[in-house]
């Protein structure tokens, strides 16, 4: 349990917890970006390099952009973003749900026996990932590719469809 792991876990948890409680949406998204960078550092500590840099490329490089553009395109006057009694009640119920789920999962984690033999992890080289993707997981890769294409086409159609033509049709 070294210091790097503890610092990474601390930074990630604190930034995600602060991100959920801010009123300003742009600051929330930027703190969530710090959370994703923290998760990338966590993957690097575990020597999963390919996944770490994929996470950086996809989440920090792409999904953060999509979220920020969505925040910018849907901006309203700040007066509607106030705390009121209903949102406090909702937050308390959500907190109770989250804490009870966390205690359940923590109980399950801490009271499970670990396996007896300690196996050293094989280095997950890019070659082995590529080999598995093209031999064993090739159908999954092609389905994911077509799914991503369909998702892009669908989201472009959804976001670009103007309400003017919708009323006329």
């Amino acid at each position: 349990m070294n210091a790097t792991l503890l610092i990474t876990i601390g930074v990630t948890l604190i930034s995600s917890a602060v991100a959920l409680s801010l009123r300003n949406l742009i600051h929330s998204v930027l703190l969530l970006v710090i959370t994703w960078i923290g998760i990338c550092a966590f993957y690097l500590i575990f020597n999963a390099e390919f996944i770490a840099f994929t996470q950086l490329l996809v989440y920090v490089g792409a999904i953060s952009m999509v979220a920020l553009f969505a925040v910018l395109l849907t901006r309203v006057a700040p007066s509607t973003n106030q705390r009121n009694k209903q949102s406090v009640t909702r937050f308390i119920y959500a907190l109770i749900t989250g804490l009870s789920l966390f205690s359940l999962m923590a109980f399950a984690v801490l009271h499970t026996d670990s396996p007896k033999e300690k196996v050293e992890a094989l280095p997950a080289t890019v070659y082995s990932i590529g080999k598995a993707l093209t031999e064993e997981y090739a159908p999954a890769l092609m389905i994911t590719g077509s799914l991503l294409t369909l998702a892009i086409l669908g989201s472009v159609l959804l976001a670009a469809h103007s309400p003017q033509s919708k009323e006329n049709s």
């Binding site: 993957y43 996470q55 925040v71």
Partner: protein, 105 residues
């Protein structure tokens, strides 16, 4: 990789999952709800990687591949969700989720 570190990492992913859950359940802005769902998917990915690097399958890296596909699916889901959000915003001029309570329109 001893027992304590494994437990710490699993608790970390559970905590991240619960933070994502609390965000999804309590915030009224649709964007933050979608980002909470992204955080939950991320915490599941962390779980996969932790287990793969401590107790690996000798033949292929199933955990890594599952995480790759999860990241791809999460990205496409974020794109579609935010496109839906923009379409909804054009209709009702507000991103508060409570305003999307009418079946008509």
């Amino acid at each position: 990789m001893n027992d304590q570190t494994l437990n710490l990492c699993l608790l970390f992913s559970s905590a991240l999952f619960c933070i994502g859950l609390i965000t999804t359940l309590s915030r009224s802005s649709t964007i933050l709800i979608l980002l909470g769902i992204e955080l939950m998917l991320n915490s599941a990915n962390i779980n996969f990687i932790v287990f793969e690097r401590t107790q690996p399958d000798v033949s292929t890296s199933h955990g890594t591949l599952f995480v790759l596909f999860t990241i791809a699916i999460a990205a496409s889901e974020a794109a579609v969700g935010l496109a839906l959000l923009i379409a909804l915003f054009k209709h009702q001029r507000s991103v508060v989720i409570d305003d999307a309570s009418q079946l008509k329109g």
